[in-house]
Symmetry: C2
Subunit: 111 residues, 2 copies
């Protein structure tokens, strides 16, 4: 039921990627699935959480061990192709913020 | 069209709040709107981005000037009421991560 990532204790890093999709799919869904599978195989990958509303605005927070693993993923050849298609076809806008997670806590219903 | 926050240059802070909603509204929608309006009035508030999918999983990334403004918002009396109702009625699970944004960039379609 929950898509919440299971993460180690901080510190670790988060990439906050928010985007407004263009109209239509243009191969986006298949590529998004493929990129998530590929990201999960990268060194330093810790987890990912993603949500997109019916208005096409979405947020993906991906979690990484350190800045170097984030930079390596950005340079991945297959990911570079997806990044180019994102600017060409899939996104009206996006913003990407890299941040160091310093503390974390959560809640889980028990009843 | 876009819900993307306009933010100053880093450094600043992000609170990544991800949650799985319970079934039904239980007053959630009205309270979520009220809390966003209230957050916007807090000292140090910089912006907020939010998305929730049809499966009830959502992410809200709120942006703040510093850690003290985040701690003050957590202690806000009206917000404390909402936090309690969140655990009582609205959320199956949530995770909250506080992170220091170190770099940021974006894309905007021009054609």
């Amino acid at each position: 039921m929950s898509d919440q990532a299971k993460l180690p204790k901080p510190p670790y890093y988060v990439v906050c990627f928010s985007s407004q999709r263009t109209e239509g799919d243009h191969g986006y869904g298949d590529m998004a699935d493929a990129m998530e599978q590929l990201a999960r195989q990268q060194p330093g990958f810790l987890g990912v959480e993603s949500a997109r509303g019916s208005d096409g605005f979405g947020i993906t927070n991906s979690f990484w061990q350190d800045e170097e693993s984030i930079r390596a993923w950005k340079r991945n050849v297959d990911h570079l192709v997806a990044q180019r298609l994102g600017r060409q076809d899939w996104y009206e806008t996006y913003e990407l913020r890299v941040a160091r997670v310093e503390r974390a806590y959560g809640f889980r219903r028990t009843t």
